[in-house]
Structure formats: structure tokens, C-alpha cells
């Protein structure tokens, strides 16, 4: 029964939803090789793939697929709540992306092309290895949680993707340049490793971002209990 459920969850969004993260990281690896041959150090580029691009692509995929179920009306009549089904799918996607990121992170360490933030460079090796995983884990959880919450709030897959993309580009273009003069923006900096590697607030901002992501989950849980809203979401697109 559990296997059937997982198999349905796997088939529902289509193969591309699961193939996109490994394909994306594979493309980053190929471009990194190309950059290396051009004489450009690929460490920062690879770090941006893990920290900036994988989270946003997962956020868009979650926003598009997690709330889309052709059998939604049927699901809502079942004794198992749809909220738990949707959260299970969310965990499924996040877990898959985390596996790809962990594997990529391991390969990056193996080839000595890491780009660790300055704050953790003097830490002991095991602590550094653990902290390095926060480079991708925190933005990944944030984008996945935000994508999920936004798709429930806006009841639109494209609107949530557009908002995630806007947040991503604004963070990327503007925040790195003004963060020194506006310290109160530090808790919302999603990509400090790539954009401000020398930042002294790296760890504190990671914890604050993680906290905001975790706060989005109960909000999503409450929104998932709004059956009327879920049904309207299907017809409003």
C-alpha cells in the first residue's frame, strides 16, 4: 500500500520533475569543465549551482506539481487528509533534490573545487563538512517551502513560479551590493556563500533563513485544510 502510494507520487508529476535536478547539476559540471579549460576557476560557479540554481528550480517544480492532482476531488473524499498527502509529496521532492545536492557536494569536495564561506574556513574538518551542507540545504528548504506556500496562497502555478523567480533575481542582483550598508537585510540573504563569501553573518543568516522556511510549513498546513480554496485553484487557471 505504502509502495503504491509512493509509486503514484512518483508517476504523477512526470519523469522530467525528477530528471531536472540531476540534469541541471550535470550541465553545471560540464560547463565547469569548459570553464576550467578556459582558465577560469570553476569553484564559485559550482557553488552557485548548488546554492542558487538547484533551490530555485526545485521551488518552481514544487509550486507547479505538488498541488496539481487530476484526482483532487477524489482525494478530498478519502479518510486520509489531503494535507498529509501533499506534504508527503513535498518531502519526496525535497529528499530527492537533497540526494542530488549531497552527491554533487561530495564530488565537488573530491575534486577540491569547494567554495566555502570565510566564516567556516577555520573550523575543524568534521564541523566544516557539516556546515558546508548548509550552503545548499538552507536555500533548498526555503525555496521549496516558499514555492509550496505561494502556490497555495495564489492558487496559481505560474504566479508562484513568477514570484519565486522575481525573489531569486532581486536577491541575486541587488542584495549583494547593499548588504554592507544595510545590516538589517542580513536575515533575508538567501545566497551569501556565492554573493558575499566573506560575510561574518553567514551562519546566523543560515539559521534565520531556515527558521523562516520552517515557519512557512504550518502556514501551508493551514492553507491545505481550506478545501474550497484547493478546488478553486483547479478552475482558476
Amino acid at each position: 500500500m505504502v509502495l503504491d502510494r509512493w509509486s503514484y507520487d512518483f508517476k504523477l508529476p512526470g519523469r522530467l520533475a525528477f530528471l531536472t535536478p540531476p540534469l541541471m547539476m550535470g550541465s553545471f559540471a560540464l560547463i565547469a569543465v569548459l570553464l576550467h579549460t578556459l582558465g577560469v576557476a570553476p569553484a564559485r560557479f559550482l557553488s552557485s549551482g548548488l546554492e542558487m540554481f538547484l533551490p530555485v528550480v526545485m521551488g518552481i517544480i514544487v509550486a507547479t506539481t505538488c498541488m496539481h492532482d487530476p484526482a483532487l476531488e477524489l482525494q478530498l473524499t478519502l479518510p486520509r487528509s489531503y494535507a498529509s498527502t501533499a506534504l508527503r509529496r513535498l518531502c519526496f521532492f525535497t529528499g530527492w533534490a537533497a540526494c542530488i545536492a549531497l552527491l554533487s557536494s561530495g564530488l565537488i569536495a573530491l575534486f577540491h573545487v569547494e567554495y566555502p564561506p570565510q566564516q567556516i574556513q577555520n573550523w575543524s574538518t568534521p564541523l566544516q563538512a557539516l556546515a558546508t551542507q548548509m550552503i545548499w540545504l538552507v536555500p533548498l528548504i526555503w525555496f521549496v517551502a516558499a514555492g509550496f506556500c505561494l502556490s497555495l496562497l495564489t492558487r496559481s502555478r505560474t504566479a508562484s513560479s513568477a514570484l519565486l523567480a522575481s525573489i531569486w533575481i532581486i536577491e541575486t542582483l541587488f542584495l549583494g551590493n547593499i548588504i554592507d550598508k544595510t545590516p538589517w537585510l542580513q536575515p533575508i540573504m538567501l545566497f551569501p556563500t556565492t554573493l558575499a563569501p566573506g560575510a561574518s553573518f553567514w551562519l546566523s543568516s543560515r539559521l534565520e533563513i531556515l527558521l523562516t522556511a520552517l515557519l512557512l510549513l504550518p502556514v501551508s498546513w493551514l492553507l491545505l485544510r481550506n478545501t474550497e480554496g484547493l478546488l478553486k485553484g483547479i478552475s482558476e487557471e
Binding site: 512526470g14 522530467l16 520533475a17 531536472t20 570553464l35 578556459l38 577560469v40 576557476a41 560557479f45 540554481f53 530555485v56 528550480v57 518552481i60 517544480i61 509550486a63 507547479t64 506539481t65 495564489t154 496559481s156 502555478r157 505560474t158 504566479a159 513560479s161 513568477a162 514570484l163 523567480a165 522575481s166 525573489i167 531569486w168 533575481i169 532581486i170 541575486t172 542582483l173 541587488f174 542584495l175 551590493n177 547593499i178 550598508k181 544595510t182 537585510l185 487557471e237
Partner: protein, 260 residues
């Protein structure tokens, strides 16, 4: 005559359908709010806004037009991307195929209707900014200049982004296109040419750096040495590519129809 009425019908319907989606307005409003919030923290831009009277009118109008092409087309492109797959999902495509209406005329109507409706919030924001510059400077020259910059910088970007966002999702999964479009806009338009090779300083930049620098001598993009001739080249290239991609899309859909 028949094709024209099909085009007008499709345009009308798609425009009204898209413009009535509250999310189009909400997303562009929130994006503008976020960009304005971050930009207001940048010292140079804030100073320029405060001392607008001392800045040349041409410069302030061109910068405002460039700002329209900076981040907002990303949200617009993503919002247009689901229009064609939606027809397939709701089976409207099959229904329309049974009518005698020309597919090409219908597709062009859809393209222009969707694109113009999605750009309407951006156009209104543009007008608001121009009104602000006009009130601050009191110079009537702002209005013809604004029309000129809009036609040469915003319109090619709008047609290019609209065409690609309608056409590519016909062959690519929508979320993947949305992600790739975001990546493309950042890398191909806004990323400064440094260590990683980029096309952001070439003629093929819908953000409009070449038109902006070539025609008006001012730009916030990476085309600081563009000439007027290169501006014309970039303008024509973007429009031709938009038309070609739409023609390719209609041929692809016709081929799909005959195959089925």
C-alpha cells in the same frame, strides 16, 4: 478577410482572459515593490530621484525605460508560458482544430493578445514614472521622449519575450522553461561580461542595451559602446526572431495536427 476576423477574435479573447487574471497584476505589483525597496537602498539611484531636476531629461527617461526591461520581463515571460499548454490541458485546442479558422491567424492573435495583456501593468507603471518625471521637471519634452524610448526599447523586448514564452512551452515542460528563461535572462542580459562567457554584450539582448545606448547614448546594461547602426541591427534582429519563432511554432502545430 476571414483570417483577419479570426486574428481579431483570438486577440480579443486572449487579451481579455489574460488581463482579467488578478495574478498578472499582483505578481507585477509585488515584483515592482520588491525592486523599488531594494533600489531605494542604493545611494546613487536615491540621489538621482531626489535631485531629478538636475538630471538631463533624456537620461532620466532612458533610465526609467531601462528599468522596465530589467527584472519585470522575467515575471511577464513566466506568466505567459502556461498559455499554450493550458489550451491543450483544457482540450480547447482540439475543439478549435475542428473549426475552419486558420491556425496561424489564431496563434498570432493569441500571441499578441496574451503578450499585450501581460505587459499592461508594466505599461501603466511606465506611465506613472513618466508622469513623475514630468511633474518634477515640468518639461513637455518628456512625453515624446517617453514614446520614443518605449517604442525602441520596451516593444522589441515585449515581442521577443512574448514569442519565446508562447512557443517554447509547446516542446518543453513549462516549469523547466520557466527556470531556463530565468537563467537565460540573468546570464544573457544582466550578467556583466567578466570571467564566464555571456551574450549580455551582444546584439541579441532583448533587455535593450544596444537600442538604449545606440539611439540615446545612455544605458544601464552592458552595451556601453553601441552605435546607432548597431541599435537598428539589434532592434530588427529581435523583431525578426520573434516573427520566425512564431512561424516555426505554427508550422510545428500544423505538423502535429496532420500527424494525428
Amino acid at each position: 478577410m476571414m483570417n483577419l476576423s479570426v486574428f481579431a477574435g483570438a486577440f480579443n479573447y486572449e487579451f481579455r482572459m489574460q488581463v482579467r487574471r488578478p495574478i498578472i497584476w499582483i505578481v507585477q505589483f509585488l515584483t515592482t515593490l520588491l525592486v523599488a525597496g531594494f533600489i531605494s537602498r542604493s545611494a546613487g539611484i536615491l540621489d538621482m530621484l531626489i535631485h531629478l531636476q538636475s538630471v538631463a531629461i533624456l537620461e532620466s527617461v532612458v533610465y526609467w525605460t531601462n528599468f522596465m526591461n530589467y527584472v519585470l520581463p522575467i515575471a511577464a515571460g513566466i506568466l505567459i508560458a502556461d498559455r499554450l499548454p493550458r489550451d491543450q490541458r483544457t482540450k480547447v485546442q482540439e475543439l478549435l482544430t475542428t473549426t475552419s479558422a486558420s491556425l496561424r491567424a489564431r496563434l498570432f492573435g493569441k500571441y499578441l493578445g496574451c503578450t499585450l495583456a501581460t505587459w499592461l501593468p508594466i505599461c501603466l507603471l511606465y506611465c506613472l514614472g513618466i508622469c513623475f518625471i514630468f511633474v518634477q521637471t515640468g518639461n513637455l519634452m518628456v512625453l515624446p521622449l517617453a514614446l520614443e524610448t518605449f517604442a525602441t526599447i520596451v516593444l522589441p523586448c515585449m515581442f521577443f519575450v512574448g514569442a519565446f514564452s508562447i512557443a517554447i512551452p509547446a516542446i518543453l515542460w513549462v516549469p523547466l522553461y520557466q527556470f531556463l528563461f530565468l537563467g537565460y535572462w540573468f546570464w544573457g542580459n544582466l550578467y556583466a561580461p567578466k570571467s564566464i562567457p555571456t551574450i549580455s554584450a551582444t546584439l541579441l539582448t532583448p533587455a535593450g542595451g544596444y537600442m538604449s545606448q545606440g539611439f540615446f547614448g545612455v544605458t544601464m546594461f552592458h552595451a556601453t559602446h553601441a552605435t546607432a547602426f548597431q541599435g537598428v541591427e539589434s532592434f530588427v534582429l529581435l523583431l525578426i526572431l520573434s516573427m520566425l519563432i512564431m512561424l516555426a511554432l505554427s508550422s510545428y502545430l500544423l505538423w502535429q495536427q496532420t500527424r494525428h
